[in-house]
């Protein structure tokens, strides 16, 4: 990556000059600048709505710029469509994967450019062979004939990358490539990026994860409200500085959990939870006013715990005791009746009625109890209640009649929170509460979670972002392979310790442990034993 600085006098690989793009009512980009040098990874950061996606869509030919110019290797560049962009060597990996889940890995990689016999017939043999060669060359853990829909998110991401690199890409643009990856997978991805970067190629890397930029990028370009702000040398700058430029103010990100109190009453007690799919002997307690963090690698079973709690997955054995009484929760509606609210990691699919008003979303779960009489809707009551929550949670929306999909990610999340608060839930399960939410809005969600806990609500927070778990949780349950391998209090928790338990295999043999790079393979965790366990 040092080569980037040795190119004397040569034009930059990609240059964006004075580009503007408007949509009806919105100026998405104004006087935008960007310069990608040869052989570098340039991070592009900005809050949601700052214009990153618009810029990407201009570069990939999905939109056409109103003003300004693009240059590739010093030559003026006019992109007319996604395919032409790829043929010019610009490959874009969008945040929403552009994959066909029913097709195989090979079929996805070469879609639109299938090896053919004649012009109409497919040559499946050549297709699979070429896919195999590409996968080998990139060292990807994929098989040409695997059906993409059956792959994990991380592997689907790799299919996307293989697809992009199947074209002889010179400029690779990645939008939030690690949003759904765990740390180990991120490392694999970064390795792939480093191998891709050559003296004649470059990467534009869009991310919300500040810690990553330090690891992978050479320079950071910050944009805000559709305008260019600054470009900084990653090594010579601190992430605080970058964030300050992004949001236009400083953020205290080294905050610690607030209001930690011992001896609060136990609201929920789970013991010996087993499910057919994954969970093994999961036991924990949740106190009133507590934020209990759930950490672990992807697939460790964190979401499954939530699903089992709200009755979305069937229990094989185990008991759930709620407010001192053993309860049987057979489906999410049951859970809601017991005033347990589950906020899915996939807000857009499971949390919101995207096409409906904010108002309708907030009232949804409480329609029967609060907002109807004899089957007729009490619209005014619902609107008033919604207005109340829009103001207490400071949801930024022009009115409660706004359609939910028009809100930003952070405000959408607040709408979902409001829905469960109206329902008077006192146990809230957050699955990745800040996924896809920009840095500024994240802080607001954190603040809100702290306030809720202080009001006595109990919160289970599942998160893949370790810093988030560490700063928010009063206690942290660390999971690995369907078991809780460690239960840490806020003072004993550290990044290293959580990772230690997260990579612990509950019934591991020594050889596997060496592969994982663990120092002490003998340490086998059970919740009670690991509390005392030291590194």
């Amino acid at each position: 990556m040092e080569q980037g600085r040795t190119t004397r006098g040569e034009p930059p690989l990609l240059k964006v000059e004075g580009v503007a793009k408007s949509f009806p009512g919105v100026k998405a980009l104004q006087d935008m600048h960007l310069e990608l040098r040869r052989g570098e990874v340039l991070a592009l950061v900005g809050e949601n709505g700052a214009g990153k996606s618009t810029l990407m869509k201009l570069l990939s030919g999905i939109y056409t710029a109103d003003e300004g110019q693009f240059f590739l290797n010093g030559e003026p560049l006019e992109v007319t469509g996604p395919k032409q962009a790829q043929e010019l060597g610009i490959s874009v990996i969008h945040q929403e994967f552009n994959l066909m889940p029913d097709l195989t890995v090979a079929q996805n990689i070469f879609i639109g450019r299938e090896p053919r016999g004649g012009s109409f017939f497919l040559n499946e043999r050549a297709l699979n062979r070429r896919a195999h060669e590409l996968i080998e060359r990139l060292h990807l853990p994929l098989e040409p004939k695997q059906v993409v829909g059956n792959l994990t998110v991380a592997k689907q991401q790799m299919v996307e990358i293989a697809k992009a690199l199947a074209y002889d890409a010179k400029v690779l643009i990645m939008d939030e490539p690690t949003a759904a990856l765990n740390d180990a997978e991120v490392a694999v991805l970064h390795d792939l990026i480093r191998r891709f970067v050559q003296p004649d190629t470059g990467v534009i890397y869009i991310s919300h994860r500040m810690d990553e930029l330090k690891v992978i990028s050479d320079r950071v370009t910050v944009i805000r409200d559709g305008r260019y702000v600054d470009t900084l040398d990653t090594r010579a700058t601190s992430m605080k500085e970058v964030i300050a430029r992004m949001v236009g103010r400083e953020i205290t990100s080294e905050a610690r959990p607030v209001g930690v109190k011992a001896d609060r009453e136990v609201l929920l007690s789970v013991s010996g939870l087993n499910t057919k799919a994954l969970l093994k002997d999961v036991s924990f307690e949740l106190h009133a006013g507590e934020i209990l963090g759930f950490a672990g690698l992807m697939g460790a079973g964190r979401t499954e715990v939530a699903r089992a709690l709200v009755g979305a997955d069937k229990l094989e054995s185990g008991t759930i005791t709620l407010r001192g009484k053993q309860v049987h929760i057979s489906n999410p509606a049951d859970a809601a009746k017991h005033r347990i609210g589950y906020l899915s990691e996939d807000r857009k699919q499971f949390g919101l009625l995207l096409e409906q008003e904010v108002n309708a979303n907030i009232g949804l779960s409480s329609l029967r109890e609060l907002f109807q009489s004899f089957g007729f809707m009490k619209d005014r009551a619902m609107r008033n209640k919604s207005k109340e929550y829009v103001s207490t949670l400071s949801i930024k929306t022009p009115s409660v009649a706004q359609i939910a999909k028009n809100l930003s990610g952070g405000n959408q999340q607040k709408v979902v929170i409001a829905k469960w608060l109206v329902k008077d839930c006192d146990i809230l399960i957050f699955d990745e509460p800040t996924r896809g939410i920009d840095v500024g809005a994240k802080e607001e969600i954190y603040k809100l979670l702290n306030e809720l806990a202080q009001q006595g609500k109990s919160i289970i927070m599942i998160s893949s972002e370790l810093p988030e778990v560490l700063r928010m949780s009063h206690r942290i349950a660390v999971m690995s392979e369907g078991r809780i391998t460690g239960l840490l209090s806020a003072d004993e928790a550290s990044q290293e310790r959580v990772m230690h338990y997260a990579t612990l295999r509950p019934d591991e043999n020594p050889e596997d442990a060496v592969e994982l790079g663990l120092d002490e393979p003998a340490l086998i965790g059970t919740p009670s034993a690991t509390k005392a366990g030291e590194q």
Partner: protein, 336 residues
């Protein structure tokens, strides 16, 4: 099949097993449909002494032809995530066109057939343009076309059937016996050929690949640089050509073009596709499945008839079979 294209020394043990498992699962779906076909067939063979004989089995195959032909074209449309409701009345309209060209205008039979098939293509082309360019939902676009075709068939024929009495060679298209000594109507052979053509198109050509691709994720397909609009128009036009073929086959079989028929065929054809395991959500499906689905429907119709079960009850049973078939398919996917 799974392992032959990759050099063995590079093949790892576990992924090969996984790929093989996936292939087996795909095969299982067709196997299930096929197994139900066998079970239903066996049931009627035992239940009625008049069911299992050469004449009746030929009759079953013969009665599969029209539904089967329509279902083949519709399979492509449904795999893209679309639907085509115009195939039934469209077929009646194509039959009328065939009658007009051959009987009224006196064109030679091959030209008349070509005209009718191309007219079917035109119906599909209009559907495709409405759906791909004007962005009408497939359900609405083809529902409208269904009504238009129904009306036009009556208008053009002045609401009277057109008889092919003077064109015996036309009638032979369906009822003749091309293979001497084998008492198999030509229509059955034509259906078999059409099924093979459809299978090749779906599995071996870029048309088929893009059909699956569009149904699997239309936006991603477009972003991959594929002209989704053009391909959708082509796919609906292809389905239209099958409508035209079905129009020829049914009128040749009846010896007349019946303008008032056609309604109901679209649902039977869609039922055949769905029983065959093609997902209405798009992305999944197969020609083999569709052929099996069409056979299940005609075996049921025939068997129930032979057992003297009234027509009304036959529909009730067919409806239940569709429910069971789709439920079984979904249960299998959940388990997988």
């Amino acid at each position: 099949m799974t392992t032959s294209t990759v050099p063995p020394q590079q093949e790892e043990q576990q992924p090969a097993a996984v790929a093989l498992g996936a292939t087996l699962r795909d095969r299982l779906q067709q196997f299930l449909a096929f197994a139900s076909l066998i079970v239903i067939f066996a049931f009627f063979s035992v239940a009625s002494p008049n069911f299992l004989n050469y004449t009746n089995v030929t009759a079953i195959l013969f009665s599969t032809v029209v539904i089967g032909t329509l279902a083949l074209g519709t399979t492509f449309v449904i795999i893209t995530g679309g639907i085509d409701l115009s195939i039934g009345t469209g077929m009646a309209l194509c039959a009328v066109i065939s009658g007009v060209l051959i009987v009224n205008a006196g064109l030679p039979v091959p030209l008349g057939v070509l005209g009718a098939v191309l007219f079917g293509g035109l119906i599909g082309l209009i559907n495709g343009v409405n759906i791909a360019l004007l962005k009408l939902p497939p359900f609405i676009a083809t529902l409208a076309m269904m009504l238009v075709a129904q009306g036009l068939a009556l208008v053009i024929s002045k609401s009277t059937p057109i008889y092919f009495t003077d064109s015996p060679s036309y009638v032979k298209i369906s009822t003749g016996h091309l293979i001497p000594g084998l008492n198999l109507p030509n229509a059955v052979i034509i259906l078999a050929v059409l099924a093979v053509v459809a299978g090749v198109l779906l599995n071996k050509t870029i048309l088929g690949r893009y059909t699956y691709s569009i149904g699997s994720n239309e936006e991603a397909t477009a972003l991959s640089g594929i002209n989704v609009r053009t391909w959708k128009i082509i796919i609906y036009t292809l389905a239209g050509l099958f409508i035209g073929l079905a129009g020829v086959l049914i009128s040749a079989r009846l010896g007349s073009a019946q303008p008032a028929t056609g309604t109901g065929y679209e649902l039977q054809a869609i039922a055949a596709v769905v029983i065959g395991g093609t997902s209405l959500a798009g992305g999944k499906g197969s020609i083999v499945g569709t052929v099996i689905g069409a056979l299940i429907i005609s075996v049921l119709n025939n068997g129930l008839q032979i057992m003297s079960i009234p027509q009304e009850w036959q529909n009730v049973i067919l409806g239940c079979v569709i429910l069971v078939a789709v439920y079984a398919d979904m249960a299998r996917k959940r388990a997988a």
